[in-house]
Amino acid sequence: MIVRKILFIVAIISALGISTIAAEEVVDHSEMSQTEHQGEQEGHESEQTEHQGEQDGHESKQTEQTEQGHHKEVVEIPPNYKVLGGFAIVNLLFIMIGVYMKWFYRKGAST
């Protein structure tokens, strides 16, 4: 019972740990594009000020933005295989725990 609870808590912590890595990644990305483009403000502020202060109507905003890719220059970055690997390992780990519990631990206990 306690083991099960501990495993569950570990699972949640691992999952949240991965989300933190993911979050760091996203922050990194936004910081990258930010430095590329403006390098003066933080976070979202920099991305949105580009569009700000020059339009006064819904219509003008739409014409400017609805052309695909007209938002801003995007710097392509490669996939983060560390994060993806982390997800894969955590998921595989729990599947292995499932395999152990279903096919070895329980069968062993029943015999």
């Binding site: 989300s19 339009q55 819904h58 994060v83």
Partner: protein, 443 residues
């Protein structure tokens, strides 16, 4: 006596739902598309305008989902890829242990918290506007599904942890489709196979017992009970939208709270996409004495999320003097459900903007998967048309909410229910005002 329409009376529908093709065929299609979406999000371009995953998730699926809940209840949950992953994991390696008591007791509260946290994280780390962020969110949810499915029986994740499940549950209460048992048949039943399952089909994955089920909030329309019921007791019938809200037997604080939270999320989503958002942030910065986006956004977030909850509480307090004998908490809980139609309308109206002004991106990015490059204006409708539709949807939501107040309040005098009518009108005006302002795009 009026006999209700039962879609299972139609042989073709009944045979299909009883067959092994239902809901499997839809699940495998959804799984395939989901797989491509995840791959594109985590491996494809980081340009959200060009990413197939971003446009499919946030321009097509997210706007479509409230319409599905309204029309078909929680049918999406029957075909959801996360649910299918859960089914597969449980079948292969699941321990099938009972759901922990704390999840049973606090499940909806956890959903409330997750929903708030995900919305907050989205704005701090830009999950929606970042393909990688969206991909990691989907992978995180997949991990949570895997973990819960390895240890626990049925769809424990969907029932107690999935934020979309919470949303689905609330919206489906206002939905137009219901699955129920026939009381005269169910009371003679000894097998309870709808809950327990049989040799071939699993029992209700959402822990429901059809005999006592009086809500569509926890029914996925997966058809398991239709397959397992030996007495043909199950019926699937259309109903008036919002009808379930009128007579909820056991109203719960967490559901009413979630209804208010969703309204807060609609406000957050709307306000942060406005062009004046930067000015609002600057104004907040003068209060917080910092230019940190995270701090200033969190400040705005707390206010916006607290606003509908506070307004509902205040209304419940005002109504206490009107509806003699009712306590504030009781009013909050009972009439909190009446916000759901406006939640649905606000969610739908907000996403109509994205679907209609960025809709062609779905086509452009889909053909780009096959090597064809098309670019150009992604808008499907003019701003005027979109705004007209948004206003119309919100007004429809108002009608649903006002009528729900009238019915939940036992058709009381309008003066008695005035605070609630005023609250619904206020929410409507706030939504309409926000939709009238210029808004930024997602992709």
């Amino acid at each position: 006596m009026n006999k209700r329409i039962n879609f299972l009376d139609y042989r073709l529908i009944r045979s299909f739902i009883r067959s092994r093709w239902y809901p499997g065929i839809f699940q495998w299609i959804a799984m395939g598309v989901f797989g491509v979406i995840v791959v594109e999000l985590v491996l494809g371009t980081v340009n959200p305008s060009r990413n197939f995953g971003t446009s499919m998730t946030w321009v097509l699926w997210w706007p479509l989902i409230p319409v599905l809940f309204l029309g078909l209840g929680r049918f999406w949950c029957a075909v959801c890829p996360f649910g299918k992953v859960s089914d597969i994991i449980r079948k292969l390696v699941g321990s099938e242990r009972p759901m922990p008591k704390f999840l049973k007791k606090y499940g909806i509260w956890l959903i409330d918290i997750f929903f708030i946290m995900i919305t907050w994280s989205d704005h701090i780390w830009g999950i929606v506007e970042s393909p990688r962020g969206s991909g990691y969110l989907l992978l995180l949810l997949t991990t949570m599904v895997v973990v819960t499915s390895v240890f626990y029986e049925r769809r424990t994740f969907c029932k107690t942890l999935c934020f979309l499940g919470g949303l689905a549950g609330n919206y489906s209460r206002a939905g137009m489709l219901e699955l129920r048992g026939t009381p005269e048949i169910c009371k003679t039943c000894k097998s309870q196979s709808c809950f327990k399952g049989d040799r071939i089909t699993e029992g209700c994955p959402m822990f429901q017992y059809v005999r006592t089920m009086d809500t569509s909030a926890d029914c996925n329309l997966c058809g398991n009970c239709v397959k397992t019921c030996p007495n043909n007791s199950i019926r699937i019938s259309p109903r008036k939208p919002t009808a379930e809200l009128w007579g909820i037997k056991n109203p719960k604080m967490e559901h009413a709270f979630l209804a208010a939270v969703i309204m807060g999320i609609v406000f957050v989503q709307n306000i942060t996409m406005l062009e004046i958002w930067q000015d609002i942030l600057k104004a907040i910065g003068t209060v917080t004495q910092t230019s940190s986006y995270s701090i200033n956004f969190t400040f705005a977030f707390v206010i916006l999320m607290g606003l509908p909850i506070g307004m509902l509480w205040l209304t419940a307090k005002l109504a206490t003097t009107q509806i003699s004998g009712n306590k504030i908490r009781e009013n909050f809980v009972r009439l909190g459900y009446a916000i759901i139609p406006l939640d649905l309308a606000g969610h739908l109206a907000h996403n109509l903007f994205h679907a209609l002004t960025e809709g062609k991106a779905i086509w452009f990015n889909t053909v780009s998967l096959f090597g064809y490059e098309i670019s150009g204006n992604v808008s499907l409708a003019s701003t005027g048309v979109v705004q007209f539709l948004q206003y119309a949807v919100v007004v429809l939501g108002l009608v649903g909410s006002v009528y729900a107040v009238y019915r939940i309040g036992n058709k009381g005098k309008w003066t008695t229910l005035l605070p609630y009518y005023a609250l619904m009108i206020l929410f409507t005006v706030m939504n309409i005002y926000l939709f009238s302002l210029p808004m930024s795009h997602r992709v």
